[in-house]
């Protein structure tokens, strides 16, 4: 049930793309409210618009019309720099292919968002990064380069990076999509732990098993959202 002040509020968002064959309506007046502390899964077939929905929420892309509010802030009107700063402080993004910077070590990747957003005093950043790596079980890999780690380790490093500035909202675009089932399960358990600590987590997934474990599931089909109960989201 949506509270009066949901952390994420997507209101009548339309997203169209101009293709060679004409306009493609990817999201059709979708609305979504996610409260603080919720763990929400987003599922749908390829091309259904779920990644586009995530991009709307993270501000990576802008709606053709409609509003997106994160923590009460309308992000669709922010400039790129405003969005970057807002995102760095309020949203932690976890990608399917990890997207760690290859020439920085694991701990440096985790410290990078703190540097950009000038969060924490400089001498506090390293201890905090190590603490986050400890939390995800990677403190002994802190000085390794990403390419030397396994997929699961890289994804845990990416999770630690997403937590760097202690954002209230975490977004994952198929964060377990590139992991084997055992590792995916471990990473998912991490996510559950973070939600238990008060984070809000929205995650796109194809994995049926994981989707079943989500307290709340949104189905995306043909640009329209439905709660897994069959009701509109």
């Amino acid at each position: 049930m949506a509270s009066a002040n949901p952390l994420v509020h997507v209101d009548n968002v339309v997203k169209d793309f101009q293709g060679p064959a004409g306009v493609i309506h990817v999201l059709k007046r979708v609305s979504l409210a996610v409260n603080e502390g919720e763990f929400v899964g987003v599922r749908g077939p390829s091309g259904s618009g779920k990644s586009t929905l995530i991009n709307m929420i993270t501000g990576i892309d802008r709606p053709t019309s409609g509003r997106v509010q994160i923590a009460g802030q309308p992000i669709e009107r922010m400039t790129e720099n405003q969005l970057a700063r807002f995102r760095g402080k309020h949203i932690g993004v976890i990608f399917q292919f990890f997207q760690l910077l290859p020439t920085l070590t694991v701990v440096e990747n985790v410290m990078l968002p703190m540097d950009f957003c000038r969060m924490w005093k400089p001498r506090e950043r390293f201890p905090r990064a190590m603490q986050l790596l400890e939390q995800v079980g990677l403190s002994d890999q802190a000085n390794k380069l990403p390419n030397t780690l396994s997929g699961g380790q890289q994804q845990r490093a990416a999770i630690a990076r997403a937590l760097a500035n202690d954002p209230p909202l975490l977004m994952g675009d198929e964060p377990t999509g590139n992991l084997d089932s055992h590792t995916a399960d471990k990473v998912f358990t991490l996510f559950q732990g973070l939600v238990a600590q008060g984070k809000t987590f929205i995650m796109v997934t194809h994995d049926v098993e994981l989707a079943r474990r989500m307290p709340r599931l949104i189905e995306v089909a043909d640009g329209v959202l439905h709660e897994a109960t069959g009701q509109p989201a």
């Binding site: 990576i60 790129e80 970057a84 997207q99 910077l101 020439t103 920085l104 540097d115 950009f116 950043r125």
Partner: protein, 796 residues
């Protein structure tokens, strides 16, 4: 941000090949700029130092007779003259061993080597000349095979070889090494000169004026000449010398200017190359830019990171360019100073050149990188994360894509190489700029060389002679010509009358109004002389006092066709001639020649049937035949007791002239080489980046069966195609711009060459650019073949 800057450094370190390429690209331009500006400064400074150190005379005169010390002292007492000194110069034959052939030499005798007043000769090794012992200009030892210190050489005295010991070597600021001189110069005492048959008094006069101005020097030269004329002595020519400026300063300044322009061009092309490379670097970094923006990075922060990386390129380039530039500058300056017999300074790094290099090395990459970086970081997060780096998936929509797409019948791999070449038009264009520039400049430089050589050839064809004999005294034409024509292998012979005379514009007088003119009295029916006319017409046999004037002298005097010129023939009085044509002529002292009818000149001189020079055309026209004719005639006239002042062959004079211009074209080719290096770096860089961007495609090709040779062929094919395309573009540019280049260079070095395009240069550049393209594409192609399927298809 400290963490982020570690990314910058590691990106540079982990891509050493690319870093090296960018650093070298910048370094080439910075090196060229530093090397040329420093060498120009070193040369100019050293030329002034050498000039001042030699206590130069301000006026040097060659006399038609001899003067003694008394006369010199009286001239020195003339108002306005500082000091005066005489020297004796004599032409003689010598040989290094008894078995060798005789060669022509210049013998100079000074009054007192220990107490020279000006144009000071410095002792380098050994001791000053003494009785039975000679010194030699040190620059002439090697080229003319002069024996070493203590060795013996032979001068021809009374038709016999007389031995002399080599006592020392010295440096005479008035002498130049080959190819700027054609014979060795020796130094003797005055007594020795008399023993050799030379003058007992002085036939050269030098003096200084307290405060030098060109006008005052010319005025005093005229005064001294008139004084000598009253004593029945003619003056051959007078040279003015600015004490603060080397004689060849203007030429060196001109050459330096040309090289500086090329150095700046080289830097400009380096900059274009850097733009191209940084564009590609940013294109590769786009996904990482997207990530950084996702996690909170602002565009200015990210731009700062990448510009810091660019600045590091600049600093690294300085580490290469500064020391090499200093070495190159000192080396180049030393070489060029040696050519004009000026001692080089000790190794030095000049601060102005260093500052130019620092500025260029740091600012050039930052300016070049600013646009690509700022454009790259302005990309939206969505575009950045979705970028594939292959032209944004737009291939097939452009006209060129459709044209290339319609080409049929070519092998698949050739088609792929062809279409791949034009995927990134902007990148191709920037790559082509440097290659096309290098090619156009190379072909223009070769055309310049060809133009100089052809112009010289044309001029010498105009002279028509193969062998020239100068007599010590004017001879009777009707006696000498039969003697010459009786010799075997003589096709034709003519006698000309050479005379140096002062000329002035009618109605002018006073300081600076008189100019030394090298008059050439030619037969009215000459078969040898064909003038290189730049205005007006040739002399007509019916002409009386008509004149062909050297265009350079005409310009100095402000004269045109139709104007008159008055010559002062001393005791014979003055005579006025009308200019009927202007000619381009390299002969004379700084191109001061004028051609008139010989008999008209003889009449003005109150003499009949006399001439001072024989010009001979040889039937079998080879260098050996010319040299044999020269030797035979010299020996023949010597046996007849007819004194000769000089002999020479057209082939040797022409070879010397060509060699002098070759020095300039060598310098230009060095600069062209640097530009070609920049071009090949650009090509290699572009292909390397293409390989990186197409890793997935390569993996897919491998997955469907492409061999290493197939993959390599695509990239080598691309490289060779880009090379050939650049050649096709460079040829018409060089053809069109080459004319202006030759004209501009001609103005700089005061040699208006006729433009001749070098086809040899066109084919030579094709071969070079194909070789460069092959070399530039080899490494990227090899890297492409080493990409594994797994590695490339897993790459993000």
């Amino acid at each position: 941000m400290r963490t982020a800057f570690r990314k910058v450094w590691r990106d540079l370190w982990n891509n050493k090949g690319r870093t090296l390429l960018v650093v070298l690209s910048i370094a080439v331009g910075v090196l060229a700029l530093g090397m040329i500006t420093a060498s120009n400064n070193l040369m100019t400074r050293q030329m002034v130092v050498a000039q001042v150190a030699s206590h130069p005379s301000n006026v040097a005169m060659s006399l038609g007779g001899q003067i003694d010390e008394q006369t010199i002292k009286s001239l020195a007492r003339l108002p306005g003259i500082g000091e005066a000194e005489g020297l004796a110069v004599f032409g003689l034959r010598w040989k290094p061993t008894l078995e060798a052939e005789w060669q022509q030499a210049t013998i100079i005798a000074l009054d007192d080597y220990d107490r020279q007043l000006f144009d000071v000769v410095e002792l380098r090794t050994g001791a000053w000349p003494a009785s039975g012992a000679v010194d030699v200009e040190f620059n002439h030892v090697g080229p003319y095979s002069v024996p070493g210190l203590g060795g013996t050489l032979y001068f021809e005295v009374n038709d016999r070889p007389k031995p002399f010991t080599v006592n020392g070597t010295l440096r005479d600021p008035q002498q130049a090494p080959p190819p700027f001189t054609e014979q060795a110069t020796f130094y003797v005492t005055r007594d020795t000169l008399v023993q050799l048959g030379g003058p007992s008094a002085f036939n050269r006069l030098r003096f200084t004026i307290p405060v030098y101005t060109e006008a005052e020097a010319q005025r005093l030269a005229d005064v001294v000449e008139k004084r000598l004329n009253k004593q029945g002595l003619a003056v051959g020519f007078a040279t003015l010398q600015d004490p603060q400026r080397h004689l060849l300063q203007d030429l060196m300044d001109g050459v330096g200017l040309v090289l500086t322009v090329m150095a700046v061009l080289s830097l400009g092309l380096s900059t274009i190359l850097v733009v191209n490379t940084i564009n590609a670097v940013i294109a590769q970094q786009v996904p990482q830019i997207g990530i950084m923006k996702t996690i909170g990075g602002l565009s200015p922060q990210i731009a700062t990171l990448y510009l810091a990386g660019v600045a590091v390129y600049g600093v690294l380039s300085l580490a290469v360019a500064v020391p090499l530039g200093a070495l190159g500058a000192n080396g180049l300056a030393g070489w060029m100073l040696q050519l004009i017999n000026v001692p080089a300074a000790p190794f030095e790094v000049l601060r102005p050149a260093l500052l130019y290099q620092l500025g260029a090395g740091l600012l050039t990459p930052l300016l070049a990188g600013a646009y690509p970086v700022l454009q790259g970081v302005s990309i939206s997060v969505r575009e950045a994360l979705n970028a594939y780096g292959l032209g944004s998936g737009r291939y097939g929509l452009r006209l060129i894509d459709r044209i290339l797409g319609s080409l049929a019948g070519l092998p698949r791999m050739t088609t792929l190489a062809l279409r791949n070449t034009f995927r990134r038009l902007g990148r191709v264009a920037l790559t082509q700029v440097t290659l096309v520039a290098a090619g156009a400049i190379f072909m223009m430089v070769l055309s310049t060389h060809h133009s100089f050589n052809e112009t010289i050839l044309q001029i010498f064809r105009g002279f028509g002679y193969d062998v020239i004999i100068g007599f010590s005294q004017p001879q009777r034409i009707n006696e000498i010509i039969p003697l010459i024509e009786a010799q075997p292998n003589v096709a034709h012979a003519e006698m000309w009358l050479f005379l140096g005379a002062p000329g002035h514009v009618p109605g002018t007088s006073g300081p600076g109004s008189e100019y030394d003119v090298a008059l050439r009295g030619i037969p009215a029916d000459t078969e040898l002389y064909v003038p290189e006319l730049t205005a007006g017409r040739n002399l007509d046999p019916a002409d009386g006092h008509a004149l062909l004037l050297n265009q350079k002298l005409a310009r100095r005097m402000g004269l045109e066709v139709g104007d008159s010129l008055v010559f002062d023939f001393g005791p014979a009085g003055e005579s006025t001639y009308t200019i009927v044509g202007l000619i381009f002529d390299l002969a004379g002292n700084d191109q001061n020649t004028a051609y008139i009818h010989r008999e008209t000149l003889n009449a003005d001189l109150n003499q009949v049937g006399r001439a001072s020079v024989a010009e001979i055309r040889v039937a079998e026209n080879t260098l050996a035949a010319q040299q044999a004719m020269e030797t035979d005639l010299r020996d023949y006239f010597r046996t007849l007791g007819i004194g000769l002042s000089y002999t020479d062959t057209a082939a040797e004079i022409q070879a010397n002239a060509n060699a002098q211009f070759s020095i300039l074209t060598t310098l230009l080719l060095i600069m062209t080489f640097l530009i070609a290096v920049v071009g090949s770096f650009g090509l290699s860089g572009t292909l390397s980046i293409n390989v990186l961007e197409r890793r997935r495609e390569i993996g897919v090709m491998r997955a469907v069966g492409a061999s290493s040779a197939d993959v390599a062929f695509i990239f080598v094919g691309e490289g060779m195609l880009l090379g050939v395309l650049s050649w096709l573009a460079a040829v018409p540019i060089s053809l069109f711009a080459g004319r202006y280049f030759v004209d501009a260079l001609g103005v700089v070095i005061d040699f208006p060459a006729v433009y001749h395009y070098s086809l040899q240069g066109v084919w030579l550049w094709l071969a070079i650019v194909l070789a460069l393209s092959l070399l530039a594409s080899w490494l990227p192609a090899r890297r492409a073949t080493q990409i594994s399927v797994r590695e490339s298809l897993a790459y993000e």
